[in-house]
Subunit: 400 residues, 2 copies
């Protein structure tokens, strides 16, 4: 099945786009937010919760799954969808980011990256070819190219070398998929990843090479790693100006509501991030009017739902008072109910963004969302203050 991305609308005043692509596991509407199911589970949530939240695609981590339970077990169990009981679409990352950030003693060779597992110290090698083969065994709908990421700040020659290697690895990954397809496998879409950190010239050089390769979509890599929101968004604007109109654009690792709104305004179609669900498990959730710290004593007898404007399964049924009690008491259900809201909130945000693009009023939507997010309405002072320090006016780099 050839991968096809369809553009339904483009906002007249911003770069925002509304699109869709079809997978063997249903249609994915863009802009899309992908919750992260690291090890084959979006922590504390079941697939039914994700569906109920309107989610149609999620991300799973190749690195985690290849180490545990192992790609061969997932393949034996009929692929990731069957294994975890999720009927929607799945995108797997390539493992490149985790190999560089989670493991010790990782060594980059031209062949690939040699590393020791963060679980048991066992030695492994992930090459561009192996990353494709492992992903193929997981049977995602979309796989990612294996890239070379450098920690920023880094000397220019290191960034340059990583870009050149990312390009060479991209070709090798595509070749591996071709070989798999000759064997009747490798049916997943494959996205290339642009690198170059915050050096516009390097990002341009990287994409000049990648754009000639038959990828099904392109990702913006190496961003939101500490460079700050303004610089990150500059790179997003730069990349999106060059990325082809007819293919999906995926900004990796971004999930703060404000970043999502701003990235969509610059032409991004997909984003993933652990932030909303990780925050939720720790008792902080985004609501339309800001950031709510669930344990705040001010909510002890608050009859309102987390977000009075939300219709997620949690907000339809539970009060802030109950949620606070669950968190204060260390009850597992608190993490789950907050996570249900967190996923719903992000999916609902991109759905409303999509509707705004289709209606040709994304600029207004963005303005309304940012203003509302800064309002702190219905939030206790403590929560509002915490929120304010993270609002774009106050702190540019607030991506967590």
């Amino acid at each position: 099945m050839p991968f096809s991305f369809q553009l339904d609308a483009q906002d007249p005043a911003t770069g925002a786009r509304a699109g869709r692509f079809v997978t063997r596991h249903g249609e994915v509407l863009t802009p899309a937010f992908l919750p992260v199911g690291t090890a084959g589970s979006v922590k504390s949530l079941a697939p039914d919760d994700l569906s109920a939240a309107g989610c149609d695609i999620l991300l799973c981590n190749t690195y985690h799954l290849m180490l545990r339970p192992g790609a061969s077990t997932v393949r034996h169990m009929g692929g990731l969808h069957r294994f975890m009981g999720w009927d929607g679409a799945i995108l797997t990352d390539s493992g490149g980011f985790q190999v560089m950030s989670l493991t010790e003693l990782n060594r980059v060779h031209e062949e690939g990256v040699e590393f020791r597992s963060h679980l048991d110290g066992s030695r492994h090698m992930l090459s561009p070819e192996e990353a494709i083969r492992v992903q193929d065994a997981l049977e995602p709908d979309v796989a990612m190219s294996f890239d070379h990421l450098v920690r920023l700040p880094a000397p220019p020659e290191e960034v340059r070398e990583a870009v050149s290697r990312t390009v060479r690895w991209a070709r090798r990954g595509l070749d591996e998929r071709s070989r798999l397809r000759e064997q009747g496998r490798g049916s997943m879409a494959l996205f290339g990843i642009n690198q170059g950190g915050t050096d516009p010239a390097e990002r341009a050089r990287c994409f000049a090479e990648l754009s000639g390769m038959p990828f099904d979509g392109f990702a913006l890599g190496g961003l939101w790693v500490g460079e700050g929101r303004r610089l990150g968004l500059e790179m997003v604007e730069r990349d999106c100006a060059e990325f082809p109109r007819e293919k999906p654009r995926y900004l990796m690792g971004v999930g703060h509501p404000i970043d999502v709104i701003e990235a969509v305004a610059r032409g991004v179609d997909m984003m993933d991030c652990v932030l909303p669900t990780r925050n939720a498990r720790r008792g902080t959730v985004f609501i339309g009017s800001g950031r709510l710290v669930v344990r705040n004593a001010a909510y002890a007898q608050d009859e309102r739902p987390l977000d009075p404007e939300c219709d997620c399964a949690t907000c339809r049924k539970y009060t802030r008072a109950y949620l606070r009690h669950l968190f204060v008491s260390g009850e597992l259900l608190g993490m789950r109910l907050a996570s249900v809201h967190a996923v719903h909130h992000m999916v609902s945000l991109v759905r409303r963004a999509r509707a705004a693009v289709v209606a040709g009023r994304y600029a207004q939507f963005r303005e309304d969302c940012l203003e509302r997010f800064a309002s702190g309405e219905t939030l206790a002072r403590g929560g509002a203050a915490t929120h304010a320090s993270r609002s774009p006016q106050r702190k540019e780099a607030a991506c967590s």
Copy 2:
């Protein structure tokens, strides 16, 4: 609303009974198994999960809730049902057991028990009257009398004194409910608790007093605290022979499937226990054919559900391989999916027990269940062995 228990059937060959009682929150079928929602949540489960598992009544702990979030908060939030979003029936215990088992520096006076909170060391006093008032604020369907429990083994005079005090406190609790009713509150049913440890004469003396009091039901207290299954069941048989036919009989703190089957055979109508759900969160579940240790490596690629004969939401959808992966990876979803099975398994067990009583074949049902539980079928050797050491033939006291 007067509390009324209706007996639908009695098994001809055993003491097993099938009954029901109506509450403001629906009908409760007996024999009933009550999952434990200690602090207003059956750990990791939402009310919808309990309903889906067929549960119609659960237990909440007065001790935990009075300390956090506090009875006044629960009352302010509209009572426990509204607070936690559970529409079925709720039974609260009196706090007596926790006060004696969880707190430090607890001192028993005739007035009540003085104790320090296990959470923050704050000083509290729980008297028979206060236990009723706190429960009334929680608004359960069934409340329990405040009893004096002694740790066994204890000298006879200590047991005797505890029995006498339990009787005096029972009267005071009933009087307090009468006062509440004069104020238009106190609508919950109230069960008395028989004490006397494993001394038949003391249990008889206790019940001779309690039986004259207008309780809506009677509980068997002070059992399954280490005395062993055989002795415990002897006391159950003794108490049930004296308890009135027309009132429900509640065996507190019992939840091993074999104990449930044996207690029902002796005339018990209700039981509660954290065991099935606590075990589940730790990765061990009861299935029809024994005890399954989810992490067992033998299940790494096992496509079967936890229990091939179970139709719970977990067994309908997930494999042992996936559950094992979740537990091995420390994923929260594992605890939840295993707990869903655990509650369903116990509720299904008492439902099938009920049907057997109605059909007049409980003796056969008991025999079949025990034989099946000992079979270890579909269980890995490791699991089967662990099970065997807990089967009634091998270890009498196996109540955990």
